[in-house]
Amino acid sequence: MTKWILKGLATGIKTTAYPSVPETAPGVSPGRPGTTYFADKDMELIKHCPAKALFGKAGSVRVDYRRCIHCFQCTRTEGYPSIDWEDGFEWASLAGYPERDQVSITPLGRPFSRSVHIRIVDAGACGACMSEIAQLGKPYYNFHRLGLFVTPTPRKADILLAVGPLTDHMRLALQKTYEAMPSPRRVVAVGTCALSGGPFGPSFISGAGIHETIPVDFSVPGCPPPPLAVLHGLLLAAGRAEPVPLKSRDSARDNPGKEVR
């Protein structure tokens, strides 16, 4: 045991300092296709996306992150101009569903700046998202240092963290959980499945995401999103982080010709 203590003291603190210091460690994120959009006359690339995340608009190919499973198919398909692969992990944003009024979505705000309780519901996920979320409690990410806690009951929860495509069997449970939460409450949907049904839905066992049943406030795309992306989403919901604007998309819109190769 002495050995452990000495080893621990010698190792020192390895916990990441995110968000006060930008995370620079390699491998914290698998990355995702950049938001570059480019002209593709035949729209052939779209057919190669197994998740149907690519779509054509005004002669350009764009990425729908609610569907993307970052499978690398779009960058590695031979004979087509490759899409940029973007590193980084601050992917969380306001959930952009057309049926939800964007203006009404606000973060929790000041009283929750140092203590937020989270209720996690696995609404039929494959397990990848849950394993990434589980990393948050471990020494490297350690989200308790930020005042984020998991609670076993929705009665004390401020944030509902939902993963999975929402199978029919979990629909009522998720709804009851949401109704049992006191306001103010925010819903963070984590993962491609929770946002759009992903590879599973809509199908005969599940719908096309959480938003069909309960209003989703914040979304964390990714399949699975890396732990820091989930952390970013939680901080966003707590009002302690800002959504990162999609720079490349804006720049691409400014000079679209540049992307065509």
Partner: protein, 718 residues
């Protein structure tokens, strides 16, 4: 009226009650039993109050028993305490009986029940006022047999006769032991009168004293439910009629305690601390084992029965501590311990009577006593639930109810052990104190379980779902007892001086002064309270209510020397006021904070289940399982597994039957070896029975020859 005429009045009322039961048709007996029972209780309460509060006493010769002596009755303050407690429980049980025994009409004879109960009352009064061993033993035996008959009342049930016979056998052994002890005492002195025994008991040899003590302690311990002789208690309580269970726990259990208390130190002063220490240790073991089995138990009545063992254990432990202090010459502390013991005895009678009546109501209302199959009764039986909650809070020793006062005083008394000058006894005191503290903690667990599993949550069976509230005549006695529990809890400063009247003749010292300082009347009393002491406590609020309330004060406080002016202090009366203020304040604050806000109401959180079946909810077994696992060494369960499979293909099992059996530790350790020894002995003797007349004639001849040889040898030796 004078107590002696009241005692005679009770006996007359009992006779009248028996007479009425015999001549009236059975359908009237219910009402007549209740009316006469309440009259008896009222007379008994008046007699007890007269003996206790007004300090009266009497001595009355009843009958000259041929060749053996005079049967006489006598009353003093100690009898007064027990008579008053008995009267209260009897009153409640009699009133309760009108509603409760309705279900026996046409099935069992109510006449029989009424006659037994009246005779039982008479015998109890005679036990509590007996002035000689003869009358005491006669009434004790009557009481034992009547108890058996009452336990065996519902004789058609399968388990009743067995439990009844178990009880009868154990109490007869106890009575025999007590009778031998009385003979030993009578042999040393003038006769069967207690006063004569008292005069000569000091001259007895140590061996005789010890024998007497052990015989009396374990003989009376059978009725009081003490450790090695209590295996009958849970069984008998479990099968007795509900009215009688309250009487068993609230009255006859006290008789065992009364027997022990009357003899030690009253009749036979002990000059060594060891008997007291034995009582303390036995009491502590009873207490912890009682509460362990209570926590594990799922049948409400049996749970309460095990808890009675626990409470009797606490009473005896406190009394034993008092005897140790008395033998060591610490009279004040001994008096404190005795008062504590009597206080706890009275408390136990009140709340256990209440809880048994509550359990009876649960059974009447829902027809179910298994906690695993109850639940949610608070919505169907709100009054019963309220009174049962009061009883549970009392027995779990939570302020402001009465259990808190006596258990707190018990622990405080045990903490006075540094005054003793022997290291072994100090260690024993510390260990017993720890055991009793653990008992108090487990009692909370046990009664959280008892109340919540019966009354809260969802109904776990159809019967519990269709439960109905009991009629007023059954609710009222519970209400009375619950109110008395609260009263005994918030007015300890009035109860302690009253009990002191019974205790001070035994310790030859008044303890009131040591426990209840006269904060209300510092000028009038001759006892000295230092001025600055009063001033300090005045600032703390100890004199609030001085002009309104009579008595000495509302603070229980034991003063020490210069170094520690206050050894211990508390006041449940003021605690109650503070608690009420806090409750009201919290309510108002919540109200103020929630005004002007939208309140969203949704169903209770059920884990998101599609449908919450009552089967899925927490059961009593699940609640107490941690205790069961931790104390597995005590419970010592034996598990058997039986696999049912097809004979052709053995590996395909159709069912696995797993059975878990538990034998009560007392039966396992004490009763089973005795029974098996007796069995093997009788098998040995059975070999003599060959069935031939010639052989038996031979036995007779052999015996005769042996007897003659024996007598001749004696003659030669002399």
């Amino acid at each position: 009226m004078h107590p002696e005429s009241l005692v005679l009045l009770i006996l007359a009322l009992c006779g009248f009650g028996v007479f009425l039961s015999l001549i009236l048709p059975d359908r009237f007996n219910r009402t007549v039993l209740a009316l006469i029972g309440m009259l008896e209780a009222a007379a008994m309460l008046m007699a007890g109050a007269g003996l206790l509060l007004r300090g009266m006493s009497f001595h009355l010769s009843l009958w000259q028993f041929p060749t053996l002596g005079t049967l006489s009755i006598e009353g003093d303050a100690l009898s007064g305490v027990f008579l008053s407690v008995t009267a209260i429980v009897l009153f409640a049980a009699s009133l309760y009986a009108t509603g409760q025994i309705k279900k026996y009409l046409g099935r069992y004879s109510i006449r029989r029940l009424a006659i037994y109960l009246h005779l039982l009352t008479a015998s109890i009064v005679l036990i509590l006022t007996a002035a000689d061993a003869l009358l005491f033993l006669l009434s004790w035996e009557t009481m034992s047999i009547l108890s058996y008959l009452l336990v065996n009342y519902e004789y058609e049930k399968k388990e009743t006769p067995k439990a009844g016979l178990h009880m009868l056998a154990m109490s007869e052994v106890g009575t025999m032991a007590v009778a031998i002890a009385f003979l030993l005492l009578a042999k040393g002195g003038g006769g069967f009168e207690f006063s004569a025994m008292k005069a000569t008991s000091a001259a007895l040899s140590p061996a005789v004293r010890w024998t007497t003590f052990l015989l009396v302690f374990f003989g009376f311990g059978v009725k009081a439910g003490l450790f090695p002789v209590n295996s009958w208690l849970p069984r008998a309580y479990g099968v007795a009629p509900n009215v009688f269970t309250a009487i068993l726990a609230g009255i006859t259990l006290n008789l065992g305690i009364y027997g022990i208390i009357r003899l030690f130190p009253g009749l036979m002063p002990m000059n060594t601390p060891w008997p007291g220490l034995l009582m303390l240790i036995t009491g502590s073991i009873s207490a912890i084992l009682g509460i362990l089995y209570a926590t594990k138990e799922n049948n409400l009545k049996v749970l309460l029965a095990h808890s009675s063992i626990e409470n009797a254990g606490i009473v005896i432990a406190a009394w034993g501590a008092g005897l140790v202090f008395l033998a060591q010459g610490h009279r004040i502390i001994a008096g404190m311990a005795f008062i504590t013991s009597l206080y706890h005895m009275a408390n136990h009678s009140l709340y256990k009577g209440l809880l048994f009546l509550g359990a009876g109501s649960v059974e009447s209302g829902s027809g179910e006593l298994d906690l695993d199959r109850l639940g949610g009764l608070i919505r169907r039986m709100p009054w019963t639930a309220l009174f049962f909650l009061a009883g549970s809070l009392s027995i779990a020793a939570l302020p402001p109810f009465n259990g808190f006062v006596s258990e707190w005083l018990t622990l405080q008394t045990l903490l006075q052990a540094p005054a003793i000058n022997s290291l072994e006894i100090k260690v024993a005191f510390a260990l017993c104190g720890a055991v009793l503290a653990l008992t108090a903690g487990l009692a909370v667990t046990c009664f959280v379980k008892a109340f919540s599993m019966a009354f809260l949550g969802t109904a776990r069976s159809g019967r519990a779902r269709k439960a109905a509230e009991v009629p007023f005549t059954m609710r009222a006695p519970m209400g009375v007892l619950a109110f008395l529990c609260l009263l005994m809890g918030i007015l300890p400063t009035y109860v302690i001086p009253t009990l002191d009247r019974a205790v001070s003749p035994m310790v030859h010292e008044s303890v009131t002064q040591a426990l209840v300082p006269p904060f209300f009347t510092p000028k009038e009393t001759h006892e000295k309270l230092p001025e600055n002491f009063i001033a300090d406590f005045h600032d703390l609020g100890a004199q609030v209510g001085k002009d309104v309330l009579p008595g000495r004060g509302l603070v229980v406080l034991h003063r020490g020397g210069k170094k520690n002016p206050v050894v211990f202090a508390m006041s449940t009366s003021y605690t109650l006021a503070v608690l009420l203020l806090l409750l009201a304040g919290t309510y108002l604050a919540a109200k103020a904070l929630s005004t002007g806000r939208v309140v969203r109401k949704r169903t209770a959180w059920d884990g998101g289940l599609r449908r919450l079946f009552s089967r899925m909810t927490y059961t009593a077994t699940g609640f107490s399982n941690p205790v069961r696992v931790i104390f597995e060494a005590v419970f010592h369960p034996t598990e058997t597994e039986d696999v049912k499979g097809e004979s052709v293909v053995r590996h395909f099992r159709t069912a696995i039957i797993r059975e878990r059996r538990e034998t009560h530790i007392v039966e396992r350790i004490f009763l089973v070896p005795v029974v098996s020894a007796m069995r093997s002995l009788s098998t040995l003797f059975a070999r003599m029975h060959r069935g031939r007349v010639n052989l038996y004639a031979g036995y007779v001849l052999m015996c005769l020859v042996l007897a003659l040889i024996f007598i001749k040898t004696l003659e030669i030796l002399q």
